[in-house]
Amino acid sequence: MGPLFKKIGFCTDFSENADQAFIVATNLAVRFGASIEIIHVTTNLALFPPVHATYMTVEYDPNFIEEITQAALKSIQEKYVEKLPEGLPYEVNLRSGYAATEIIRVVEEKEIDLLVMGSHGLTGIAHVLFGSTADRVVRRAACSVLTVRFNSK
């Protein structure tokens, strides 16, 4: 029987809940000798035109997508990559579109065995727009899914 997990997907929307999921995903990866696939999905502005304000307060201009991408990559580097245990293999998957759809696509493309994500991420209007990602992913992902609760302690 092979290892239970070879690739563990960690989905982040940069919320506190996602940060907790990162700790769980990392611990599991170390325990099972798995690699980590860090997944973040930026909103496709053609799908949700008003949403750019939730990412950064810049005027919409032709460079906006590029700025979002760079900001997301920088956040992933600072919040997660730099905190990974030394030697833990990882890949960053930055996608654009509907969060649940893109996460499911990454799971299939990368043959992820387990997906770890926060159960409740952003709040307010962002939650209205993105908040049900976890239950959409649970319905459709081709792998097991661990949703981590928010612990405010």
Binding site: L4, S119, V138, R139, A141, A142, S144, T147, R149
Partner: protein, 162 residues
Amino acid sequence: MERFLIALDCQPDCVKTIDYMVRVLKGTQDCEFKIFHILATASPDKLRLEEVQRIEHVHAARPDLAGYFWEKEDEKTMERCFAQAMEKLVIGGFRPESVLFLFAVQSGDVAEIIMAKAAELGCSTIVLGRRRHSLVKALLRGSVSASVVKSARGSAVWVIEI
């Protein structure tokens, strides 16, 4: 001490959920398992009299079940499933004392019953198996696991692909 509520639907392959958790947790000792099943309700009109009387005796010991009846065959299936779960957990290195079996009847929304039981027992993680259904079937039947994920605020939820 981590306390897991593992909800089993007692379909033939549901103990795969136990296999999975044994592999995840093997070697750890600070775990308690609450294995939980929800029996489908049955009309007492369709049950034999002695079966109705037997369940009424159960009601005396379990007031939370009062007014609800179930098929004896479902109960037997559940007991077989629980026995398999215990065997797998013990073979996996877990102490029998760390395992508790519980059942309820489907007196309302299944996801809500699971979450209420997890909260009552102080479980930090809810574990559920999930089968792949067609889109139409999923739309018609809904998804217990998705409902639990959406609503469980006090527990982590581990949805296992069966």
